[in-house]
């Protein structure tokens, strides 16, 4: 044909197009080793991933050598207060009850009240002597392994849009999630499971819901598959009214129909791809129930996670999700997103502590703390952190003042804390600083773009080169921003 570049942007966006792919791989779909193909095209450090339509989740090479192969994101929905957890502000204790001089009269939800001291006692932990609060005693023991970033900022002070920013890089609905970008870039090491799994909190979906694991305008292959220890994948099996033999009869008839059709239409990769998708679906029918079956986990381990706690069913359910997360990572699932906290509920079901922060955080911390800490330790002991990056994040922080007439804090996107640990992360670091009251970031300020760029970097991905052409723009997770936070890299 004519010079293909005539129809392409200079960057050759068609690499993703399946027909183009098939043109390159002729009819021997799947029989050519992908790396060979990549090598032949000189694309080992591809600008853009090349997707084999019959094996969309096949592992793909990163831009540069990766420190981490997998990611576990612990996503705390509702905006966890940095002031009650990781960002110690002794000055705020001193100024408890005083007005914030020069502070805003009105914040997100209404009139601002006076400064309020952290609601938990802080003490120094580990070798680093990092001050962490008593709200999360188990996680606090891990601080020597963690790289904190205390100076993050977000573009929105509303939960849904801010969760969009954290997960997709954009305020608006409809952009691909980070897990989508990562699996688009790297595929997965596991042949029998989805490449990207989202585990919703037992209390419900997060505020921005499916946006956090949606494909946006990426092909649907790269959306997260939501399931948890208590909620299986939808349509994984037919209803029980369909007997096994009937199911098998339908499946093998379908196989024969498709095989005959392919014979009559040789060379059509779309047909082969659909056949392959039914084969992967069949493998998932076996592997997903197996991975969700926690009965093989020993009793002491369930206890360690808190999965056997009869006094706190929500904690036990979240703990079972934590164990599921570990099992997924063990089997090479590329991106696992584990939610803690659900939708807006005046702080009852998530971390949105507007009115009764201490009372509600006592409950939420009781759910988060032990299971999450057990998960990280368990992963470390099994050697999983050699290859796995663990991200703890929340959409924004909270104000140093209480809201007028309430005992809780309003939204604060101007300086908040998230952290990293595991593969490629420098342990025991606290990077970035908020002012002495924790109102806003003042030193080494990092918009969330930087945080996301850093995560991609650890996976071997250059955030400026991982793009997808949509409506006239080479879109990226980091929009046109983003600088890798070098200080937290090992």
């Amino acid at each position: 044909m004519t010079d293909p570049a005539e129809h392409l942007t200079p960057n050759g966006r068609h690499l993703l197009d399946r027909r183009h792919f098939l043109g390159k791989s002729a009819t021997a779909l799947g029989s050519i080793a992908l790396t060979q193909l990549l090598g032949a095209e000189g694309l080992l450090a591809a600008e853009r991933p090349l997707i084999d339509p019959a094996r969309p989740y096949a592992p793909r090479l990163p831009h540069h050598p990766a420190k981490a192969m997998n990611v576990l994101v612990v996503f705390c929905a509702g905006a966890v207060s940095q002031l009650e957890t990781w960002d110690y502000k002794p000055e705020l204790i001193k100024q408890d009850g005083k007005p914030l001089v020069g502070g805003p009269a009105v914040t997100f939800q209404g009139p601002a009240g006076n400064l309020a001291r952290p609601q938990y006692t802080f003490r120094q932990r580990g070798q680093t002597g990092k001050w962490v609060s008593d709200m999360i005693p188990h996680l606090a023991e891990l601080t020597d392994e963690i790289a904190f970033i205390h100076s993050l900022t977000s573009k929105s002070n509303t939960h849904g849009p801010a969760e969009n920013v954290l997960s997709t890089g954009f305020v608006q609905d409809g952009f691909p999630s980070m897990g989508g970008w990562v699996t688009y870039a790297l595929g997965s090491e596991n042949r029998d499971l989805p490449a990207f799994v989202s585990i919703p909190d037992p209390r419900g979906v997060p505020q921005a819901s499916v946006n956090n694991w949606g494909p946006g305008f990426l092909p649907a292959e790269f959306q997260g598959t939501p399931f948890s220890a208590s909620e299986p994948i939808r349509h994984l099996t037919p209803p029980p009214t369909i007997t096994g033999s009937r199911d098998q009869a339908a499946r093998s008839l379908l196989q024969r129909m498709n095989a005959r059709h392919l014979e009559k239409n040789p060379g059509d990769g779309k047909l082969a791809a659909r056949i392959a998708s039914y084969e992967l679906a069949a493998r998932m029918q076996l592997s997903v129930p197996e991975i969700g079956d926690l009965s093989t986990e020993p009793a002491h381990l369930l206890k360690r996670y808190g999965a056997d706690d009869p006094s706190n069913p929500t904690k036990a359910a979240y703990a079972r999700n934590c164990i599921l997360a570990r099992r997924l990572i063990e089997r090479g699932v590329r991106f696992v997103q584990l939610f803690n906290g659900a939708y807006a509920s005046a702080g009852k079901l998530n971390w949105d502590g507007h009115s009764a922060l201490k009372e509600q955080y006592d409950v939420h911390a009781g759910i988060l703390d032990q299971p999450t800490a057990a998960l990280i330790r368990d992963m470390r002991e099994r050697g999983l952190l050699e290859n796995t990056l663990v991200v703890w994040c929340t959409e924004f922080g909270r104000m140093p003042m209480f809201q007028k007439g309430a005992k809780g804090r309003d939204h604060n996107p101007d300086g908040f804390t998230c952290w990293l640990t595991g593969a490629g992360v420098k342990p025991g670091v606290s990077h970035g600083v908020t002012d002495e009251l924790g109102r806003r970031a003042v030193q080494d300020i990092h918009p969330l773009y930087d945080f996301n760029a850093t995560i991609l970097h650890l996976l071997g991905i250059d955030h400026e080169r991982l793009t997808f052409f949509h409506n006239g723009i080479e879109r990226r997770l980091t929009n046109v921003e983003g600088n890798v936070i070098q200080e937290v890299l090992a």
């Binding site: 914040t107 819901s209 037919p238 209803p239 009869a249 008839l253 998708s277 409506n471």
Partner: protein
């Protein structure tokens, strides 16, 4: 001060001898510094902060925030020097790589102080003219005598390729029927077509007849409207976090369907969507407000949050207009001049000014009948409420042994034998979650009066109340007002009590309570409770509790239907009459109500629009007038132009035949609809970042024909679907495949997977259950029509659920549980072309879902009723219905074994999943 002094001293010392005395030469001394340190971010490839240092004119213009960066003779004031010096902590240049040496800084400083002489004609790069682009130029004149096939054949011949032979006519029939209507041809249509072919050997007449029949079918608009709705990201919810329903959006969806069915000239289609309120097409302006939007409660209370939200709202209108009509990514210019196209930030805000008086929201549909409808709805509502009260008299008595309806969040009636009461106590023992909340506790005497009202002198007390700002106060329990904001909430999780003391002992016989009678909230619902009364004498007596109610089902969102169980025949008769009347009233009220409001933008006096520095609402610059992109036209309106005149002027400008983009963009969309990909594959972007057309001559020829035909979409589609290019076979020729794997040159028909809606609609058509009802509010794909707490899918469909999928209530961001996985747009961002993914989730959904199994059963029943019990006959019928062809003997035998072993539904299930069924051939 000290630091500056020291630096200055160092500079002097370090200055090369040649410079201390002599002139700095730009080419010899300065440009190499720029090349080494600056051009990687401020050169041809990137222009960070809008600054470019490889072209004289651009360099002196400066970047976005600090322009000008070079101030001749004033190095001290020139940002360039400040940044390279490191004086400004936030802007140290270069930011990442090695800093400039002292001598280099000295050279730059000296160059500026000597007047920053930059000779003309020395630049190595040339500023490209962004206006010099194919799509901004007038349509190229084409020979009107040519055909689509001529253009296609020319390009094929250039590559030594040729068109494939014609497809089997029945393959074409299946292709064109699915393509134009989104439904498969029936066996009868196929038979008729075959007969017409044999009657009209060698002529195109049978093909022509089919196309005319399909274009005239109401099914056509239902199919083609979906393509447009994808582009404008239509949905029936508001999106973002709360994602509440947008119940009056559907008139716009119906408008688009009707516009396609009526073949509304495309230029008129544009005018109506921007200014239909002036043309008796009120619903059309739904176009302006199709995007997701934050509701007032989700926007911060501080002014900066409000200003940002308003800018976001307006931005979506500009983006939609730019992408849908002009194929331009104008939104890129919100924060900076467009990187590739001739669209400045000023252009962006000037365009925004056309929409300065448009807000998101419902407005009364202005039509002659609307006011009458409003009056009528009011009258009917009064009657309906009356019936509701009367019906409550027939609710089964509490504790009578008849099973009562489960508790629900909207409204619960407790009926009991008349009893004297001074005090009524409602004690809650358990809730579905959190602290219990009741919006009103009503106590009725024998004549049907609510005696618990505060206005009647009744006094409430409670175990405790959890009051938040403006809501949940004790007094709300008997204030006669419904809904969450007028509700009482206990201060204890899962329990609490409320008591109403009546002014005097009264005989009562009914109590009605609810969590939220407005039907919005379902949480905090008392599940276990006891209702007691006490007379003046003080002894408490139990009247009702939920032990005789059916168990609560959290998935069931609506109150249970009224049950006649336990009524004597006379009562049952009376009640069922009332029920029927109520049902008919509700339907009439719904119809009237829907007809009177439309989510199509609200119009107000335009607010002033300013150019915003870097898109930041807190950094307004000059006020702008409504104006089109300066590089593309010169339409400018005065700053005080009235609201509707602005939109109309913009519409007229877009819809001019001379506009080089408008017709090209639309004909390309039509072509894409038929072939799966446009001649320009980036159909929302005809700018520099988009792709060039594969067949420029054909694109311009079609655009010219389109305008000449009076912007008739259907006329263009006749030309396309009857062309030999469209009628050719889809079979793969390996030699051609090797040359043009993408089939962009169309050496065959590019078969593709059907869209989500087409698969679902086709399955229903085959099962014989498809409901062809048109228009009106959407049916439910989920058990919730919007809100926070998730969207449990409807799994088994009946009634309206069997309508075509375009008539579903489209929840933004939430993909339908079976078909959503087939790349169904989420209505977040504009989808100009659907991807065609193939995923295991699709396979699981289509193979295992209740929907597939239900339709397989129904399909099997239909086949049995049409083909009888003969298995080969059944298989033949199944193939004709599903694939528009007969099975060959191998297929028939294979299927027969399965059917005799496992039944006909198993064959149907396999057919719904097979490649031949889900592909457009």
């Amino acid at each position: 001060m000290i630091r500056i002094f020291l630096q200055a001293t160092t500079l002097l010392i370090a200055l090369p001898v040649s410079l201390q005395a002599g002139q700095v030469d730009f080419v010899r001394d300065v440009r190499p510094i720029f090349e080494e340190h600056c051009h990687s971010c401020h050169g041809a490839e990137k222009q960070k902060s809008g600054l470019r240092l490889d072209i004289k004119s651009e360099a002196f213009k400066g970047g976005i925030d600090h322009a000008p960066d070079i101030i001749p003779k004033e190095s001290g004031r020139s940002p360039l020097i400040r940044f390279v010096n490191g004086d400004d902590k936030d802007h140290v240049m270069p930011p990442k790589s090695e800093r400039l040496g002292v001598a280099e800084i000295a050279t730059l400083t000296a160059w500026i102080d000597q007047g920053a002489v930059w000779p003309d004609g020395v630049d190595l790069a040339k500023l490209e003219d962004k206006r010099d682009h194919w799509s901004f130029k007038p349509l190229q004149k084409q020979n009107p005598g040519r055909t689509i096939d001529d253009f296609i054949d020319d390009k094929l011949a250039e590559q030594g390729l040729h068109r494939s032979p014609p497809a089997d006519p029945l393959v074409w029939l299946r292709r064109v029927t699915l393509d134009l209507t989104g439904l498969p041809p029936t066996p009868e249509e196929a038979a008729r077509f075959r007969a017409r072919i044999s009657q009209n050997q060698g002529t195109d007449r049978p093909f022509l007849e089919v196309v005319e029949r399909l274009l005239a079918s109401p099914r056509y608009g239902e199919r083609w409207a979906q393509h447009w709705l994808d582009v404008v990201r239509y949905a029936d919810t508001h999106g973002f976090e709360v994602n509440t329903p947008r119940p009056n959006a559907w008139p716009y969806r119906d408008y688009v369907i009707a516009a396609f069915n009526n073949d509304t000239p495309y230029d008129q289609f544009i005018r109506e969507q921007l200014a239909g309120d002036l043309m008796n097409r009120d619903a059309a302006t739904g176009f302006l407000v199709t995007s997701a939007v934050l509701l007032p409660g989700q926007i911060g209370k501080d002014d900066a949050s409000k200003r940002l939200a308003r800018q976001d709202e307006l931005g979506e209108m500009v983006i939609n207009t730019g992408e849908a009509f002009l194929g331009l990514s104008i939104g890129c210019a919100r924060c900076h001049d467009h990187k590739f196209d001739p669209i400045t930030s000023k252009d962006y805000y000037s365009l925004q000014a056309f929409f300065a008086g448009v807000e998101y929201g419902d407005r009364p549909l202005r039509s002659p009948g609307a006011e009458a409808a409003r009056q009528e709805a009011k009258r009917l509502t009064t009657r309906r409420d009356e019936i509701g009260k009367q019906l409550a008299k027939f609710v089964p008595l509490a504790g009578s042994g008849v099973k009562r309806a489960p508790v629900n969040a909207e409204q619960n009636t407790e009926r009991f034998a008349p009893v004297k009461a001074r005090r009524v106590r409602f004690t809650i023992r358990n809730t579905n979650n959190l602290e219990p909340c009741l919006d009103e506790l009503e106590v009725f005497d024998s004549s049907g009066n609510n005696v618990a009202l505060a206005s009647e002198g009744a006094l409430p007390t409670a175990s405790g109340s959890r009051v938040s700002a403006n809501r949940h106060e004790l007094k709300h329990i008997n204030d006669g007002q419904y809904g969450n904001t007028r509700s009482w909430m206990s201060n204890e999780v899962g329990k609490g009590w409320i008591m109403i003391e009546l002014p005097r002992e009264t005989t009562i016989e009914r109590i009605i309570w609810g969590r939220d009678r407005e039907g919005k909230l379902k949480d905090r619902l008392p599940l276990d409770y006891v209702i007691e009364v006490a007379r003046d004498s003080g002894e408490w007596r139990v009247l009702a509790d939920p032990t005789d109610r059916a168990p609560y089902d959290p998935a069931e969102q609506k109150p249970a239907a009224f049950s006649l169980t336990g009524l004597d025949p006379g009562e049952a008769n009376q009640a069922s009459h009332l029920l029927e009347e109520k049902k008919s009233l509700e339907a009439r009220i719904a119809a009237l109500g829907d007809a009177q409001m439309v989510y199509a933008g609200k119009f107000k006096a335009p607010e002033p629009m300013h150019l915003l520095n870097r898109g930041d609402p807190e950094q307004p610059k000059d006020e702008v007038s409504p104006a089109v992109v300066a590089a593309l036209g010169d339409l400018t309106l005065p700053k005080d132009a009235p609201e509707s005149a602005r939109r109309l002027a913009l519409a007229e400008w877009i819809a001019r035949p001379e506009n080089p983009l408008t017709a090209r963009v639309m004909v390309n969309r039509i072509w894409q609809g038929h072939f799966g990909i446009g001649l320009v594959d980036s159909s929302n972007d005809f700018g520099h970042a988009g792709t060039k057309p594969s067949h420029p001559g054909l694109l311009d020829w079609m655009a010219t024909e389109f305008i000449r035909s009076g912007w008739s979409v259907k006329q263009l589609q006749r030309l396309i679907t009857l062309s030999a290019t469209y009628r050719q076979s889809g079979h793969i020729d390996p030699a051609a495949q090797a040359k043009d794997a993408d089939v962009r040159l169309l050496w065959r028909f590019p078969a593709r997977r059907l869209e989500a809606e087409t698969i679902r609609d086709s399955m229903l058509a085959m099962s014989g259950r498809l409901d062809l009802k048109t228009g009106g509010p959407g049916f439910d794909l989920f058990k919730s029509r919007g809100g926070l707490s998730g969207f449990p899918p409807v799994e088994s469909f009946s009634g309206d659920g069997l309508r075509r999928m375009i008539y579903a209530h489209k929840v933004r961001m939430e993909r339908e549980s079976v078909f959503g996985a087939f790349d169904c747009p989420d209505a977040g961002q504009s989808v100009s072309r659907r991807r065609q993914s193939t995923t295991p989730i699709q396979a699981l959904n289509l193979f295992n879902s209740r929907f597939t199994l239900d339709e397989s059963e129904a399909f099997a029943k239909r086949i049995e009723s049409e083909a009888g019990s003969d298995i080969p006959g059944q298989i033949r019928r199944a193939y004709l219905l599903a694939l528009c062809r007969e099975p060959d003997p191998v297929e028939s035998n294979d299927a027969a074994q399965v059917v005799s072993g496992e039944g006909l539904p198993t064959l149907c299930r396999a057919l719904f999943n097979c490649n031949e069924f889900v592909l457009l051939p």
